[in-house]
Chain length 321, copies 2
């Protein structure tokens, strides 16, 4: 092999809105990257054609030697290589995306769901670099999660482990997109706290800056800004959210005893306002063997680095043996 | 090494009532075994003296070549080797049992909690032999658990992972021995179903065979026998227990996506009466990616084989590399 070629992996992060692609070296350095609209509401073959074009713009065969491809995508299985009924996509119930991209690039190709990929990104290049046991929670539109145990991602029997967004908080609780009721992500996510704000506005008479926003207008930043200004409803919404999430992650500790939870996504940006009560509520619910041991930290990787997750997946597979 | 010597491990299962010790070969054949009272309410040094005597009765230096020692004990940590405040024992908050037994036998010695050891027993010699991803639930006086992922026990950061008895069912629910309220084991265990029977007797007017028993008299077998005779309260108690446990193990699936749950202990002996509604309630609460995939089976190892768990631990450690 030409020693002047850089040995790289090709990373693809498929989101509901944007798809990011990039070339990453083994130290997590992003050599090239590019973002384009996923057009998840258009047919799958249109996405594939676009992806093919963008990939070939990015790869320079005489400069880059690419060894493997890593993909992060919603509801993707590491085992089958398929996206299973991804919400907000019209691509069908069984999208064989790993196989199709493998065909396109003629390289060993690996896939896992976006939050699992994020956990691998934290393990190799992020806040989890010094740890071998941790849980990543991405608190955005929904709640995604990835579990690292003994330095490895937990994939489960069919490659779909780590869906903490769908543990149950309240039987017959809030309606979830997944068809169940009372799932954690209907409470502990940006969408969840917005729902909590509307519940609080309906149940309380306190004055609030948030009374002037429609449901469609309200977003995480508005709630967070209001809380920082001392708005009673906004503060209470963070408190309620922290209480629910704190109780449920105590259950996660009873399963896995991680060293830490690593939080990212819109809800985590509120910082101490959210993290402090979250830590207290978790502690209140911990079995005694776990008390005062489990950390809750914020991710130090920025959202612009979302291709580091899929890159880490490809790198881990390359160095498996 | 003398080829006529049998290469064995020495297994110790420390329970609140009895301690079992035995010699086990690499195929899980129990060569010798013996049971004696733990006397958990007497000082720890009395137990150690007794153990030492019993061990030397069992081991024949000219016949047996012992390579390692495996211990299963309540609240024991694989990492620290200590039992941390085991309930029903007066041995103190930090019992350095692995170190003490290592001293006694001068052999590599490994420990984990009893339910974790049971999971290893299932993996090597029991109902989990053909699986690499499963969760063992021991539904006895309490609820113990051990999690096998990718063919290995999940130990967690400090060696205390897998305490599913202490996930929360109801905030402010039943008082648990651990100091928390609403822990799963206060509902889904032999003690739990007994508490449920008393709750049902207090809330309902139905005639029931169970009205003639005091709290101290009532046990799992009486409840199970009454249910098999069609007793309304007993049947309802199994239904309520299955509903609660089914909902909570759906959360476990969202973490780990195991191939199966393997059940043992008194509550599991009710068979289909319990397992069928348990499976239905689990399915009702599963995230769609997991539906119709997860098995619930009964352990095929008998309680007389409880030393197979610690034996499996020692054997796994011997063949780690």
């Amino acid at each position: 092999m030409d020693k002047n070629l850089q040995n790289l992996v090709f990373a693809i992060d498929i989101g509901g809105t944007y798809t990011k692609i990039g070339l990453v070296n083994k130290n997590g350095l992003v050599i090239e990257s590019y973002r384009f609209s996923t057009d998840a509401k258009l047919p799958y073959n249109i996405f594939l054609e676009k992806l093919s074009k963008e990939i070939h713009k990015l790869i320079k065969p005489n400069t880059h030697s690419i060894e493997a491809v890593g993909i992060g995508a919603p509801n993707a299985s590491y085992i089958t290589g398929k996206m299973i009924s991804p919400p907000n996509f019209v691509w069908g119930a069984n999208v064989a995306i790993r196989q199709d991209i493998e065909q396109l690039l003629k390289l060993p190709t690996y896939i896992t769901n976006d939050a699992n990929a994020a956990a691998l990104g934290e393990l190799y290049f992020g806040s989890g670099k010094s740890m071998v046991n941790f849980v990543v929670l991405t608190l955005g539109t929904g709640l995604g999660s990835g579990i690292i145990n003994d330095g490895k991602l937990i994939y489960g029997q069919y490659g779909m482990a780590g869906e903490l967004g769908h543990v149950n908080v309240f039987p017959d609780g809030r309606q979830c997109n997944c068809g169940l009721k009372g799932c954690l992500e209907t409470y502990a996510s940006v969408t969840g706290i917005k729902r909590t704000v509307f519940e609080l506005l309906s149940n309380n008479n306190s004055e609030s800056l948030l009374r002037s926003y429609s449901y469609d207008q309200l977003d995480g930043k508005i709630i967070s800004d209001a809380a920082h200004q001392g708005d009673i409803i906004a503060l209470k919404a963070f408190e309620v959210t922290a209480k629910i999430l704190g109780r449920k992650i105590a259950d996660t500790v009873a399963h896995l005893e991680p060293e830490a939870f690593i939080l990212s996504g819109g809800l985590s940006h509120a910082g101490d306002l959210f993290i402090k009560p979250l830590k207290n509520y978790m502690e209140d619910n911990l079995f005694k063997a776990y008390k005062n041991k489990i950390k809750i930290i914020l991710s130090n990787t920025t959202s612009s680095n979302s291709i580091l997750g899929p890159a880490a997946l490809a790198l881990q597979e390359l160095h498996k043996d």
